[in-house]
């Protein structure tokens, strides 16, 4: 990717992200009242993260097996109430063990 293309992408990504934070922070003093849009905004982060993780995680490692085990490990650790960092580390270790030792 050349520098020109990169700069355009970066400008769009950083610009949109900044404006989304800055504009409401500066302008809006009232809370959104509509239950429908409030709900929509509540669900958005979770649906985004879900659709970004599955099925793409299955292609992120050397073997599908290690990815499945990483997913399962992360889900179990999350259900046990472990924090972000520990869940992330557990998933990494699972992949390393499966891909590094078995294959």
């Amino acid at each position: 990717m050349n520098l020109h293309t990169y700069s355009l992408y970066l400008l769009v990504m950083a610009g949109v992200t900044y404006l989304l934070r800055a504009v409401p922070f500066v302008l809006l003093k009232k809370e959104i009242q509509s239950p429908f849009w409030k709900s929509f905004l509540t669900y958005i982060p979770y649906t985004v993260l879900s659709s970004m993780t599955v099925p793409y995680i299955f292609y992120a490692t050397e073997s599908t097996l290690s990815a499945v085990i990483a997913l399962a490990t992360a889900v179990v650790f999350s259900l046990l109430g472990r924090g972000l960092v520990l869940v992330a580390v557990a998933a990494c270790v699972a992949v390393l063990l499966v891909d590094g030792l078995i294959f």
């Binding site: 990169y6 709900s39 649906t47 659709s51 992330a88």
Partner: protein, 233 residues
């Protein structure tokens, strides 16, 4: 509400961000040089948004419009947080300061700022965002440099950290909230459809994620409108 107090409160977030952005650096180093990957983190400070943005860049098929729409929907929650944070800041938090510090509105920093009993001052908020910002940028820097030298077995394993963090955010909510559970299930099923069904699999990854998330959230907003209190986060 002093700067130093904010700095201390931000330390655990900074450490966590370092670990997660390390894996973003690795992902980015697959097709960008390390200064370019690091600069993305320095200018965006958003995990899911950057990750989706990177996928759009990587496919090279993604257009700028797609980048704008993806960034918009994935980061739309920050607008909600900015609105709610704006009612909880001190009067001394002027417009100029808001323009400068609004980059610090992330899931974790927002959550900590809202947990304060007093009104949030600009000094405290600046202190709060310093270490997470440094952690996020330095983690990406280290990850992108290591990504160029480490073998793929190791980088792939570390790359899973980002997915691990996504799972750590989503699963506990799915456990306690049935609407979130249903919303995520719909999103995942749709995501599979866009990956494997003919016609649908020709839609680029960026748009596929937007469509999955927006459709699932709209459906669930219709079926399960949140009560007034729950919607604040």
């Amino acid at each position: 509400m002093r700067f130093s107090v904010g700095l201390k409160d931000g330390l655990p977030i900074g450490l966590g961000y370092f670990a997660v952005s390390f894996s973003f650096g690795i992902a980015g180093a697959k097709f960008l040089s390390w200064p370019l990957v690091t600069f993305i983190s320095m200018t965006n400070l958003t995990s899911a948004g950057q990750f989706a943005g990177l996928q759009i860049m990587a496919n090279a098929s993604g257009t700028l419009i797609e980048m704008a729409i993806a960034s918009f929907f994935i980061n739309l929650r920050y607008s909600l947080m900015a609105i709610s944070l704006s009612q909880n800041v001190a009067p001394s938090f002027t417009t100029a300061k808001r323009l400068l510090l609004s980059t610090g509105i992330t899931d974790e920093i927002y959550a900590l700022a809202m947990a304060q009993k007093e009104k949030v001052t600009a000094r405290y908020f600046l202190g709060l965002m310093v270490l997470p910002y440094l952690g996020w940028s330095c983690g990406t820097l280290c990850g992108s440099i290591c990504g160029e030298v480490l073998p793929s077995v190791v980088t792939n394993a570390l790359g899973v950290a980002l997915y691990g963090m996504f799972i750590a955010i989503v699963v506990p909510q799915m456990k306690v909230s049935r609407p979130v559970f249903v919303a995520c299930l719909i999103a995942i099923v749709l995501s599979f459809c866009f990956k494997f069904l003919p016609v649908l699999n020709s839609v680029s990854v960026g748009f596929a994620i937007i469509i999955c998330a927006v459709v699932a959230s709209l459906v669930c907003a219709l079926i399960f409108p949140v009560k007034a209190e729950e919607g604040s986060r």
